[in-house]
């Protein structure tokens, strides 16, 4: 389980995250929502040890983040940032093979190669394995990075705005893939996301931030409500029912 205890992040005088205490459920799709600058990406990056917290502690499976050895934590937690640019010239297969780095330190064995093949197969990009990353579309590239996280074989997968700049088709495909990962491979997915309808349809659990503070957290049906969303986004959002799910309508 991922647990945050009184986590604060300051940039000089600016408080990006203020005293957040939170426990996140496992084997679920957990969505972090909120307006721009609400603190969701900061929280994700602190959990993913990309930035240090100014105060407070983060625990991964009962052990403080600072007590984990880098390599051991990498076998348990993978984070994919917003930027899908990589300076190195890599093919899809080479990128996915990097997922095995925490396990093999670059010396790939037969088991590693099988896992890489499985990850490519699972995400449906086997045919792209020889393509260079910079030749792919945004959606294909995102899926390649998710395949790398699958090959990394971690319990937790953290994604920062994975649907940025994707069309509806690709975005839905990625959300379905993440759901399948949770259902079939028992992974815990934690993602920062802006589209609350994708949250409503694909997330199990929602954490809402506002002005650097934790505002709400709970099951999707408890958070995707008009009064909660009005408080989080400072605007009227109507909720309609569609296929037993809640559809958010935010056009006035």
């Amino acid at each position: 389980m991922i647990r945050l205890c009184n986590v604060t992040k300051r940039y000089g005088e600016t408080v990006a995250l203020s005293g957040v205490t939170l426990s996140l459920p496992t084997e679920k799709v957990v969505a972090l929502i909120g307006s721009n600058g609400a603190g969701k990406s900061t929280a994700l990056n602190i959990i993913g040890r990309l930035i240090p917290a100014s105060a407070g502690t983060v625990e991964i499976d009962g052990k403080s983040l600072r007590d984990w050895k880098s390599n051991e934590l990498a076998k348990r937690l993978a984070i994919l940032g917003q930027t899908l640019y990589t300076p190195a010239r890599l093919t899809v297969e080479e990128l996915v093979a990097f997922g095995r780095f925490p396990h093999s330190r670059g010396n790939l064995g037969a088991a590693d190669l099988r896992i890489i093949d499985d990850a490519l197969e699972y995400t449906g990009i086997s045919t792209l394995r020889g393509c260079f990353i910079d030749e792919l579309s945004g959606g294909q590239r995102q899926i390649a990075y998710i395949a790398m996280a699958i090959a990394q074989d971690t319990k937790y997968i953290l994604l920062d705005e994975p649907l940025n700049n994707l069309d509806m088709n690709k975005a839905a495909k990625i959300m379905k893939l993440l759901r399948t990962l949770v259902r079939e491979k028992k992974r815990s997915v934690l993602l920062v996301i802006h589209d609350i309808n994708f949250v409503s349809f694909y997330a199990d659990y929602v954490v809402a931030f506002k002005n650097g503070a934790l505002k709400y957290s709970g099951k999707t049906e408890d958070v995707i409500r008009s009064e909660v969303l009005r408080d989080v986004y400072d605007m009227e959002i109507a909720i309609k029912s569609y296929r037993d799910k809640r559809l958010c309508v935010y056009y006035e």
Binding site: S70, I79, G81, T86, F98, G99, N107, E135, Q152
Partner: protein, 323 residues
């Protein structure tokens, strides 16, 4: 669709480069040698080839590491102002102690002192450059360029106050030369370069992951901060050893890394680094042959290298999308 070069293609590229290096080295050592000049020419030329080997290894490794940790393919320590730091230290010695002191600094003890000074100063500069590195690579680049300009400006300012005869001593240090090398100093440099190179090679595969960028390498379990600190020390040691030994070769690094990336298009440092070293050896040996045999020492070798490297640098500026 572009294709990934096969292992066979890399092998042939390595073989061709190694053959070219050997051919240049043999031509340089033995061409124009007669029985009368053998005793004079052969030891001198062997010494030059050894110095070229030390500088080639040092520039090849340090330039690739530097580009990997800055995630930028057009920068090298020299371009970021390292040469200006060397020049500033040389200017400071002449300014405070006079040209006699600089020309006498050829004993192993003095050489070690200069080397140590360069390593400390350059490590300090790299630390300043990489402070806040987590925020942006542009910060690193900007700080490096500004510091380089500041060192250059300060050197020029102090040179105005130096006696013209002493300035001529300094002028000799502004251009790299393989012909004034002391064998003892060459041995020390070789040992330093070997030690730093071995330290780098002990962790070679980690650099493959670092080439993916900071966020991804952390996610893959790389202790990023430790790798960057180690890299700064290795780059400072390697660059200092070669610069103190022969003098500044500003554009050699960018020339050889660009050649290596063109010939060995891979992220794997196990291929890229030896490729850059071979490219450096070829470039330096070719430059030496042109300087000695074609131009009869009329133009310093560093001018030829910097001219070719400078052209490459301009070409890269036009081609690279992400500075």
């Amino acid at each position: 669709m572009r294709r990934v070069p096969s292992s066979k293609a890399f092998f042939f590229a390595f073989a061709a480069m190694a053959f070219l290096c050997a051919a240049f080295a043999l031509f340089y050592i033995f061409s124009g040698v007669s029985a009368e000049t053998w005793d004079y020419n052969i030891p001198r030329r062997l010494k030059v080839v050894c110095a070229i080997a030390v500088v080639g290894v040092s520039v090849g490794i340090s330039s690739v590491i530097f580009q990997t940790i800055t995630a930028n393919y057009i920068l090298t320590p020299s371009i970021m102002g390292f040469d200006n730091l060397y020049l500033l230290l040389q200017t400071l010695v002449i300014y405070f102690w006079g040209g006699g002191q600089l020309s006498m600094m050829d004993s192993p003890a003095d050489f070690m002192l200069t080397l140590l000074l360069m390593i400390c100063a350059s490590t300090a500069v790299f630390f300043i450059m990489f402070k806040g590195r987590g925020e942006s690579v542009y910060h690193t680049v900007l700080v490096g360029v500004v510091l380089g300009m500041a060192f250059g400006g300060l050197s020029t300012f102090m040179q105005v106050f130096i006696d013209p005869s002493e300035f001529s001593v300094l002028e000799g240090r502004m251009f790299a030369s393989f012909n004034r090398i002391n064998v003892q100093l060459l041995g020390i440099s070789a040992a330093v370069v070997c030690a730093a190179g071995a330290w780098f090679f002990s962790d070679l595969r980690t650099y493959d992951a670092v080439a993916l960028g900071r966020e991804r390498s952390i996610s893959l379990g790389v202790n990023y901060r430790a790798v960057v600190l180690k890299s700064m020390v290795v780059v400072a040691v390697l660059t200092s050893a070669s610069t103190v030994l022969v003098g500044p070769l500003t554009f050699l690094g960018i020339l050889v890394v660009s050649l290596a990336r063109a010939l060995f298009p891979t992220y794997r440092h196990g291929i890229l680094v030896p490729g850059a070293v071979l490219a450096a050896l070829c470039a330096l040996l070719f430059g030496m042959i042109v300087t000695e045999r074609a131009l009869h020492f009329a133009v310093p070798m560093s001018v030829i290298i910097d001219f070719a490297g400078g052209l490459f640098f301009l070409l890269l500026l036009g081609r690279v999308k992400n500075l």
